[in-house]
């Protein structure tokens, strides 16, 4: 086993990210920075959720810290995190060899496929609040789910054409596998080249896990969270209402209309909802209703995003 561990230790957490980003940049992906509003998954970043809409081709890759308050375990569970990191690759339209490219990316991070067992097992994805779903697989490497691979079919309740390929790597999972450690916190994040000191995931993130778990489970002020939710929602609804006048807008006003701002407000609502949920503050009767409210916002934004794009191209034609 020693030999295995040594062989796998080649990649630090950050080298893993570099290598995958380099790989996809070489395939023509634009490297985007993580989105700076709380999201529950890389899919919710506007670089995925909004860019998959419409006919325009997209190739983009980015790492996305993803917050799931209910998954927090105060840093005590070696496999579960309040915030984990996804590497999201979006390819619209998907290249024919997308699966082969994906397998090549595994080779790039040092996985010799001839010495491993890899399977694509059915796993379909959906985000009802976003009116979004797709079909695809979970990719299993020696029994470990390392990637979610999805062909997006619908987003914001709208059919996609062309559809979009989405590859989501679970970076902590893969790093743990490559470094052969049993706890996420033991992952080596980086090594100081001069001293050889190993900086671990624990050093970088444990405090965050402890404190945010405590915040979402024990401290978050329920009354204020509800107020936040109502305020963000009201502002988003206000923008959705104004978007009904797209046809009357001139080109400048139209292109400056803050659809992206409306989306951030919808994301804020989603995150506050997750906090309330983790806090156990949402009753049965409320739950369905609040999810419907957020769906109205998210799907509404997707619609006005598509409408804005179309209106702009129509104005350009005149």
């Amino acid at each position: 086993m020693q030999a295995i561990a040594e062989k796998k230790a080649a990649h630090t957490f950050q080298e893993l990210l570099f290598t995958l980003q380099r790989f996809w940049a070489d395939q023509g992906c634009v490297l985007q920075q993580p989105y700076d509003v709380e999201v529950g998954a890389g899919t919710m970043s506007p670089d995925t959720f909004l860019r998959v809409l419409g006919p325009k081709p997209v190739r983009i890759a980015y790492a996305q810290p993803s917050r799931r308050p209910a998954d927090g375990r105060y840093g005590e569970n070696p496999n579960r995190l309040f915030r984990h990191t996804q590497l999201q690759v979006i390819l619209k339209p998907p290249p024919v060899r997308i699966q082969e490219l994906y397998l090549e990316s595994l080779t790039a991070i040092g996985i010799d496929l001839s010495q491993h067992d890899i399977k694509f097992e059915e796993d379909n994805w959906e985000w009802p609040v976003g009116g979004a779903w797709g079909v695809g697989w979970q990719v299993m490497l020696d029994g470990l789910e390392i990637t979610q691979f999805t062909y997006f079919q619908q987003c914001g309740g709208m059919d996609l054409d062309p559809i979009c390929g989405e590859i989501t790597y679970g970076l902590e999972r893969i790093a743990g596998f490559l470094q052969d450690v049993d706890s996420i916190y033991d992952i080596v994040w980086a090594v100081e080249p001069d001293t050889g000191r190993k900086v671990t995931y624990r050093e970088m993130r444990l405090a965050e896990e402890e404190q945010f778990s405590a915040y979402s489970f024990d401290y978050a002020d329920v009354t204020k969270l509800w107020e936040h939710l109502n305020l963000y929602e009201a502002e988003c609804l206000h923008l959705l209402e104004e978007a009904k006048t797209f046809e009357k807008m001139d080109a400048l006003k139209l292109k400056r209309f803050p659809v992206l701002g409306a989306y951030e407000l919808a994301l804020k609502c989603s995150h506050v909802f997750n906090l309330l949920d983790a806090r156990g503050a949402i009753s049965v009767t409320e739950r369905v209703g609040v999810m419907a409210r957020i769906r109205t916002l998210v799907v509404g934004v997707a619609r006005i995003y598509a409408a804005q794009g179309q209106q702009i191209s129509e104005l350009a034609k005149k």
């Binding site: 295995i4 082969e100 029994g143 079919q153 049965v284």
Partner: protein, 700 residues
Amino acid sequence: MAEFLFEIGLEEIPARMIAGAQAELERRAVAMLERERLVAAGAASRSFATPRRLAVWVANVAEQQEDITEDLVGPSVKVAYKDGAPTAAAAAFAKKAGIAIDALKTIATPKGEYLAATSIRQGRSATEVIAEELPKELAGIYWAKNMYWRAGRPERFVRPVRWLLALLGSKPVNVSFGGYEAGDVTYGHRVLFGEKPIRLKSPGEYEQALEKSFVVADVEVRRQKIRKALDKVTRTVPGLRWREDEALVETVTQLTEWPSVVLGGFEAEYLTLPEEVLVTVMRDHQKYFAVEDKDGKLAPYFLAVLNTETDEAGLAIIRHGNERVLRARFNDARFFWEFDQRLSLKDRVDLLKNVTFQKDLGSYAAKTTRVRKLASALAGLALERRCELNPVALDEAALLAKADLTSELVKEFTELQGVVGGLYARAQGFGAATADAIYDQYKPVSMEDSVPRTPEGAVLAIADKADTIAGMFGLGMEPTGSKDPFALRRAANGIVKILAETAVALPLTLGEVASAACGQNDTLAEKVRGFLAERLEFYLREARGQAYDVVKAVLAAGADDVRDAVARAEAVTAVRGSDDFAAVSAAFKRMKNILHQSEGSGEPDEATHSEGVALHPAQAVLADEAQGARLRVTELLGRSDYVAALETIATLRPHVDKFFEEVMVLDPDPAVRQSRLVLLAAIVDDIRRIADLSEIVVAG
């Protein structure tokens, strides 16, 4: 004649859909070739499937359709020619027949002279026909879920198409689908063979060529390869056996092209976790086979089926990886188990307010309240009939039944709901009756599954299911056609199965269950009862293998008491082969018809019957025998001995035969007629207590 081979290459097809699609492709391809007169009926065919391909092979395919010669009759000569010149009608007919106008013949018919022609429809080449027809068959294949992948959304399929191969003999057939044109090329195993094309010279090479490229295309061969490998690898540790699991063998067969097996181990300390939890993690989450020792106890090993073949070093890496994942999963499970003990099931009941059962039916707390009430009502009925049941344990179980839904372990392993509650109840010192009832509350989950082991479990399981059915029906969410999103049919099947099979007699009827579940709402209760009765019919046919006519006959005599209906159906089936029974059935039908005909024809009422009427000797004998039989039958029915009861009735046969031979039932004298009708009605009623024999189909 040539062999035909078609293969469609796909990105990984979901394992659960492969077998169905494989069979459908074969069926469709063969039917198309038959329809197109390219193969004779019953042509030999085979099919193949792996996660990345579906293929069909057909023998003796004609390379050319035979020409079809048809004699056509056209318009009458009078219409076809005007002043000696052909009219438009003649031209149209010639065009339809595909010959020149002056080549048309005339024939004499009783109606006069008509134009005629012999048309020869030329057979087309098989390649042309297949290229035209096969894509339509592909597009028609059913997939539980499919997708678009090409811009412009030209077609949907289960996953993107990656290649097509179609060969008739050595010739490629121009089939196109999903943006590909078929050629003579296939591909091997993703990793072991890579992306190199494999060119086939003829259909017969297919299986072997793939075998050389690390693909076992035949599903059965792959399944046997896996079973053998499981046996062989397990034997490397003396005394071990792998736990047979047919469904899992099927899944891994459909997940692999080139299977092999690795034996891994885990630390024995995890064996302190309940076996249910360990097996669920291995089977449902990791698709591993559990391993047991000589005594059938779980051993600290597992078997993983791989889709690759590698050397010892590679195998060590793969084993290590799988062990690492399993250890993490077991750690999680243990963590959840320990974490869950911080809050007892009793304390969790309160948390159920926050778990939705169904949005209009409220939370699981609300469901718990309803199920407790319902269980207690059903238990009351059962106790009245001397069912041995502990009502206190039942009520405790009903109260705690859903508490495990708030546990971390069930949130993680939802398929263990109920089981976890039962295990926690035991661990927390509740009595065995309570714990077992909680453990079994979701049983039976299918027709094959066992029923709850105890009467408390049985009543709880019925109450839980009946509450769901009544609630959903109340909202108008009844199953329709193939749509049953809340699995209400399965729930109702479960109720029927429990009532039929619970070892300790649970003397509840479908009507009682329905009424108790629907409260004061009689209309709803009637609907639910009807739904349950329909499931009883299904149960008798599917689970008990009773013939369609027997089921109809028995249920026409009563569809409320499940155990009784089962006993009656079995009795009818047991005696239906005998001659006497067939004759009695026929007589029953006759009697029923006579009674039916005479209904409402102004008969005097029954009270005035046979007093003082001189009886025909055959009638007197039958009346006597029927009277005697009735006494025995009543006694036998009291013991639910339906076979003996039917046999007793069958002994009436000679007397019935003689009666019908010698006596006219509908005698002109109203008093005589009435006495005979009353006699027949009494016999019919006796038989009807068991089954309406007029439903029985008598052979010959």
